[in-house]
């Protein structure tokens, strides 16, 4: 029990950046756009937030700037993919490489600077509840935002007309176009939203998780987020579950090691990916599952003139 709460607290920290990035990417993919540039958008969010918090000292400005950085990266992607009809997969890969390089350039003077991390906010009364209080109601603002976003995105996609239209565009852009919906505009919005969320994920890394800047500090979390979307088969609730599961596995394996439990750490390190492959195998053997959840037009270029 003594170990239980600290371990859970660390799991929340490990899961939050994944949750942000995966939620954003899921919305983007639901509109039919596959953006493999999550890692690049995240790392740009991380450096931008860190630069701003160092120059202004304002957490709010820093978070805003991180979102903006992610949105701008996504706008670049959208320009190439939507306006110039570039193929989505290589464009996304290029966006990642570009983001890693650009963030290194921007962050040149940020190496060696320390930041104490964004403050935790206790919600009055609720944070006094034993166990749950410390876990859920004594967190930093970004953790609260991430959980609120889960609810908002769920409601948006499943309970609103706009969400239905977004999914329609992702399932069949031709049909949605014929219905009179602006496929381009909807996809642009979804892509920008995904960028902003990836930026938030990056902000969490450089402002709360390990509040410092070192190059490539995302260390592959953007790719885990991409895997997570598939793992969750494009469902909001499962993304929440998956992010905490992936976070949980990576933390528990560290605890297991420190306790001297003989689990090969290499095996534990590859578990998230193994789980994703497993889910892919299971879901792809069930055709209805896929048809129900995966956006049918995912990754396909749409040219209305055709």
């Amino acid at each position: 029990m003594e170990l239980f709460i600290p371990a859970l607290l660390t799991i929340i920290t490990a899961a939050t950046p994944l949750l942000f990035a995966a939620l954003g990417e899921m919305v983007t993919e639901k509109s039919g756009i596959l953006n493999l540039g999550v890692e690049g958008m995240m790392v740009m969010g991380a450096i931008t937030g860190f630069v701003i918090v160092n120059y202004t000292g304002s957490v709010t400005l820093a978070i805003g700037a991180s979102i903006l950085a992610g949105v701008l990266m996504a706008a670049l992607f959208a320009l190439l993919v939507l306006t110039f009809h570039a193929s989505q997969v290589p464009t996304g890969l290029a966006l990642t490489i570009f983001g890693i390089g650009l963030s290194a350039l921007v962050g040149q003077n940020m190496i060696g600077i320390a930041y104490e991390g964004i403050p935790k906010i206790s919600i009055p009364y609720l944070s006094d509840i034993p166990v749950i209080g410390t876990l859920l109601f004594h967190q930093d603002i970004l953790v609260y935002i991430s959980l609120i976003m889960v609810a908002l995105i769920y409601l948006f996609l499943n309970k609103t007309r706009a969400g239905l239209i977004l999914r329609a565009v992702g399932d069949s852009h031709d049909a949605a176009h014929a219905m009179g919906y602006s496929v381009m505009r909807i996809r642009l919005m979804a892509t920008l939203f995904g960028g902003g969320m990836a930026g938030l994920g990056g902000a969490y890394l450089s402002l709360a998780y390990s509040p410092l800047w070192v190059e490539q500090m995302t260390a592959g979390r953007g790719w885990i987020a991409l895997a997570l979307v598939v793992f969750a088969s494009w469902r909001t609730g499962r993304i929440l579950f998956g992010a905490y599961l992936f976070g949980g596995i990576s933390i528990l394996q560290l605890h297991a090691q420190a306790l001297g439990i003989g689990v090969p750490s290499q095996v534990m390190s590859m578990l998230p990916y193994l789980a994703t492959i497993l889910v892919l195998v299971i879901t792809s053997s069930d055709q209805t599952q896929i048809r129900l959840n995966a956006p049918a037009s995912l990754g396909r270029t749409f040219q209305p003139s055709r």
Partner: protein
């Protein structure tokens, strides 16, 4: 000015100017991490800059090169683009370096932390374990819970040597103390490194030491009010209260002397393993938390390593099973140290296979 434009004119014309190439020495570097990691690769790059300043040679570097097939491609690229000497600065570059070296006999190669050499491949490394012995001494005196945490990257001899040296020194001054090791399977992942630090602290560790490259664990230590040691460079900025000292890698002199040797034509394939005495391993100033008597002890250990009266791996040394492996009066040979693959008594857990 005229000379410059002439050169660019010839380049523009696409002329190969082989005659003059030998006059200019070009030095290549391959790094495993980004130069902004504030750790291992950062220190190599600092020394690259020192080399440029000292000798005025042309250098180029490629950062974040994964250990494996990519490394071979990068090294070959450097070798075929006129570099005279190439430093490959990670253990995993060993076989790629040798493979490329066998095809470029005129190019000199220097591989860090490896053990395979060829006529045109030297190896070099620092005796970081000497620094680890000093850290262990300080940790032994400063720990209250008698449990010290160690964040490992990959279970290779270099890292295990550090753990063993640290533990031996720790238990020499504090026989009750034990070391908990957590492997993160990465040289560089600030998030995971801080997770590992948190997990260790949650399990009662009150001093953290690491063999990974980012300052993230020190930040966690600072926040949680425990002590920590920096890695590869002085990381005091990240943990002004928590950092007790730090091992600093200093490759300046080595790089300068090796490149000079290439310029003079005196370069030979060698194995260099230098330590505190030669200035390749330095220690950062002690943190304020280290009391005078502990500083004195640490200084004494350092001095005895420098003058040769003490070796971190001198017997008696027991392994985890409590069997006497190195007898009193004996010292583990460099060859044994190079391939070290077992824990000494006092380390908890087992080495991942």
């Amino acid at each position: 000015m005229f000379k410059k434009s002439l050169v660019s004119l010839m380049l523009a014309a696409g002329l190969a100017f082989a005659g003059n190439a030998a006059a200019e020495t070009k030095v290549g570097f391959v790094y495993v991490g980004p130069i902004g990691d504030h750790g291992w690769s950062y220190q190599h790059d600092q020394s690259r800059l020192a080399l440029e300043k000292e000798l005025g040679v042309k250098t180029s570097y490629v950062e974040s090169v994964p250990e494996g097939a990519d490394a071979e491609r990068v090294i070959r690229q450097l070798a075929s683009s006129g570099h005279n000497i190439i430093f490959t600065t990670s253990f995993g570059y060993m076989n790629p370096t040798l493979k490329v070296a066998s095809k470029f006999k005129d190019v000199k190669f220097e591989h860090a932390t490896g053990y395979k050499r060829a006529d045109n491949v030297s190896t070099y490394s620092a005796r970081f374990y000497e620094g680890r012995a000093i850290l262990g001494t300080i940790a032994g005196k400063m720990t209250k819970s008698n449990v010290v945490g160690y964040i490992g990257s990959f279970p290779i001899p270099e890292v295990i040597r550090g753990i063993d040296s640290f533990t031996l020194a720790l238990r020499k001054v504090n026989p009750e103390a034990v070391v908990k090791v957590v492997w993160v399977n990465s040289w560089f992942d600030p998030g995971k490194e801080s997770d590992a630090a948190k997990a260790l602290i949650d399990q009662g560790v009150d001093i953290i030491t690491q063999h990974t490259d980012s300052p993230a664990p020190l930040q966690v230590a600072e926040k949680r009010g425990v002590y920590a040691f920096g890695q590869a460079s002085d990381m005091k900025a990240f943990a002004p209260k928590a950092q007790l000292t730090s091992i600093i890698d200093n490759w300046d002199q080595y790089y300068i002397s090796r490149v000079k040797a290439v310029m003079d034509g005196t370069w030979k394939s060698e194995d260099t393993w230098a330590g505190i005495k030669d200035g390749m391993v330095e220690m950062a100033p002690y943190g304020d938390a280290v009391p005078a008597d502990v500083r004195k002890m640490a200084d004494d250990v350092k001095q005895s390593i420098v003058d040769g009266s003490f070796h971190p791996f001198q017997g008696p040394i027991k392994n985890q099973q409590g069997e006497l492996v190195v007898k009193e009066g004996e010292v583990l040979s460099d060859q044994d140290l190079a391939g070290l693959s077992w824990y000494v008594e006092g380390v908890e857990g087992s080495i991942p296979k």
